[in-house]
């Protein structure tokens, strides 16, 4: 054969493999509003940047007449490419080929690209769209999952790992996304659960639809398994691109600096957004936008545990991770979910050299039997652990309330914040004035002729004396009380100063966080 003939043969082979599951299966995929695996990769990556590997991999199953079947690429597409010129490794399960089921070689392709991502130290993106284990391949399917989970864990904190759920992801398969840093879901397309509606119906007699059990909304709003929710695959890809632009390629780098831009001060004027009365709500995200470059803020887990806000922004071109109590929801209390949400994010930022900016305005922990019984002690401890452990620059700004345990937990000086700033409206105290006055002046209030009048007088007295930033400032727990208008300037300065911060904790194999 001549080179031309050989090339033609190659092209023919490629064409066959690229057909995936064939027209019928592709049509079915499209009819439910889904793109094919390669379309997804092309839509997500920079134009013409994708290079596919292992296109000619074939499955290794022999039993149940599987040896007579040809499964192009064994149901998964793998390769490398770039997003905004960031190098990435990517795989996408191809539902049109045997339902994207995971067999021995399918898993081998995935683990191969994972190993590649680890060696090259570039982010890994996994697009999940699979019916689950390929039953015909038996224990080899299970082995495949196990090998993936092991690599997810080894890669954790070394390279960013992104999971995109664009189809079913059930049973053991859900644990790969769960081990990765960010999970993206799309309404009506993503479905995640350990045991599906069928099994639940048979075993438990409870009827529920897939969407109600483990749809995108459920994971974005109720379980917290998902970090980004969107209504279409294209919107989802835009979110992924944006996220990638904010984070570094690996744990030895910093995020790529971006063009410096001033916040949109007209839309986000602090004195218009911010009520000084500590009981009144406002949207803390407006404060974040008021200090961030271009007022651009990428919120993570926007719909879950809304009483705390986490996400990425930039200050003077550099990425920072914001952790902020949200007075708009549940008065911004810490509870089981918000603690989980914050703690994981803090650890991500710490692992990937992203400075933490903490905005404090909370009345404390959420009281309630359900909270206590759900383990708010161990969940709340995660926040303390994550902040104490973090060695990236830690900048804390106390806006209004910082009471009791909540004050300590929100990256206080005592957990080794590098900078603690407070606005003059800050109230840093062992507890809120009402509660404190009731305890300290209990006797006076009880014995007074008009107890209510006395109570109000004592609350006022306590407020005047302690509901301010100056007591904490007098001990040096607050470095500077600043005018709100100066905030961005000081954040820029603090980040400049701490650019080369390096801190090593005590030598250990690893800590034991209160998981």
């Amino acid at each position: 054969m001549s080179l031309k003939q050989k090339t033609q043969d190659l092209k023919k082979r490629m064409r066959e493999a690229l057909e995936g599951g064939g027209d019928k299966a592709i049509e079915k995929q499209k009819s439910v509003g889904k793109m094919t695996a390669r379309e997804r990769i092309i839509a997500l990556l920079d134009p013409k940047s994708f290079h596919e590997y292992d296109l000619f991999v074939e499955h290794a199953a022999k039993d149940f007449d599987m040896d007579k079947k040809y499964l192009p690429g064994d149901g998964v597409v793998t390769g490398t490419g770039s997003i905004y010129d960031y190098p990435v490794c990517i795989y996408a399960q191809d539902f049109t080929v045997a339902g994207g089921s995971l067999g021995y070689m399918h898993a081998k392709k995935i683990t191969k690209i994972m190993d590649h991502a680890m060696r090259m130290k570039v982010p890994l993106i996994g697009i999940n769209d699979s019916g689950g284990a390929r039953i015909q391949e038996g224990v080899n399917s299970l082995a495949g999952y196990g090998e993936i989970f092991y690599r997810n864990t080894q890669a954790s904190g070394v390279i960013p790992q992104i999971s995109v759920i664009l189809g079913p992801c059930a049973g053991g398969a859900v644990y790969s996304p769960a081990l990765t840093d960010f999970v993206f879901v799309v309404d009506n397309i993503s479905k995640m659960f350990i045991t599906g509606p069928e099994v639940i119906k048979t075993v438990l007699g409870e009827e529920i639809s897939m969407e109600e059990l483990g749809g995108a909304k459920v994971h974005a709003e109720i379980t917290g398994n998902a970090h980004f929710y969107s209504e279409s695959e294209m919107e989802c890809f835009e979110q992924i691109k944006k996220l990638v632009s904010f984070i570094p390629w690996n744990n030895t780098r910093k995020a790529q600096p971006f063009i410096k831009k001033e916040p949109k001060v007209k839309e986000y004027q602090i004195d218009k957004i911010f009520p000084t009365n500590a009981k009144e709500p406002y949207d803390i995200r407006d404060i974040i936008r008021a200090v961030s470059d271009d007022s651009d803020f990428l919120e993570v887990q926007e719909l879950w545990a809304k009483n705390i806000v986490i996400g990425f922004g930039r200050i003077n071109g550099d990425t920072v991770g914001f952790v902020a109590n949200q007075p708009l929801y549940l008065a911004g209390v810490l509870d089981v979910d918000s603690s989980d949400k914050a703690a994981r994010f803090i650890r991500f930022c710490d692992a990937f050299n992203i400075p933490l900016v903490t905005l404090v305005d909370l009345p404390g922990y959420l009281p309630g039997i359900d909270q206590e019984h759900a383990g708010v002690i161990r969940h709340g401890a995660k926040v303390l652990y994550a902040y104490s452990e973090a060695t990236v620059p830690k900048i804390t700004l106390i806006l209004r309330k910082a009471y009791g345990g909540g004050y300590i937990a929100m990256c206080s000086r005592h957990l080794k914040a590098d900078f603690v700033f407070a606005w003059p409206t800050a109230e840093i105290a062992v507890m809120g004035p009402e509660g404190a006055a009731n305890i300290i002046f209990r006797k006076e209030i009880m014995e007074a002729e008009d107890p209510e009048k006395m109570r109000q007088a004592k609350i006022k007295e306590y407020k005047k004396k302690f509901a301010n930033p100056y007591v904490a400032a007098a001990y040096g727990y607050v470095d500077a009380v600043i005018e709100p208008g100066e905030t961005r300037k000081l954040l820029i300065h603090a980040l400049d100063i701490s650019h080369d911060k390096s801190e090593l904790g005590p030598e250990k194999k690893h800590g034991i966080p209160p998981f």
């Binding site: 075993v203 438990l204 109720i222 929801y329 209390v333 009281p367 009471y403 507890m431 004035p433």
Partner: protein, 110 residues
Amino acid sequence: MEMTQEQDNFITFVVHTAKYRTLSTVKYDKRTAWHKKDEGLISAFIPGNIQKIFVQEGEMVCKGQKLMILDAMKMFNNVTAPFDGVVRKIHITEGLKVTKKQVLIELELK
């Protein structure tokens, strides 16, 4: 903690006697109230089928005694008496499919 509905979906949220104006969340609204458990009400800890009943109404039972077998999750699960007592009422029959938390037997402390 108490809550009262206000205009614009804002609620009054009380934390340590201080009242805050704020919004609620889906999950917070869905939380279930806590109830003290009646130890005498033996209910299904898992949905399943009543495979066999070993006791009758009025019968004395000792702590740990097998009351019935609940077939669930591919297992024959023993349902036992949590204390010494008398079977006051049996709500199920053999072969019956029961849901989670369904009351099976009422015991009276003796």
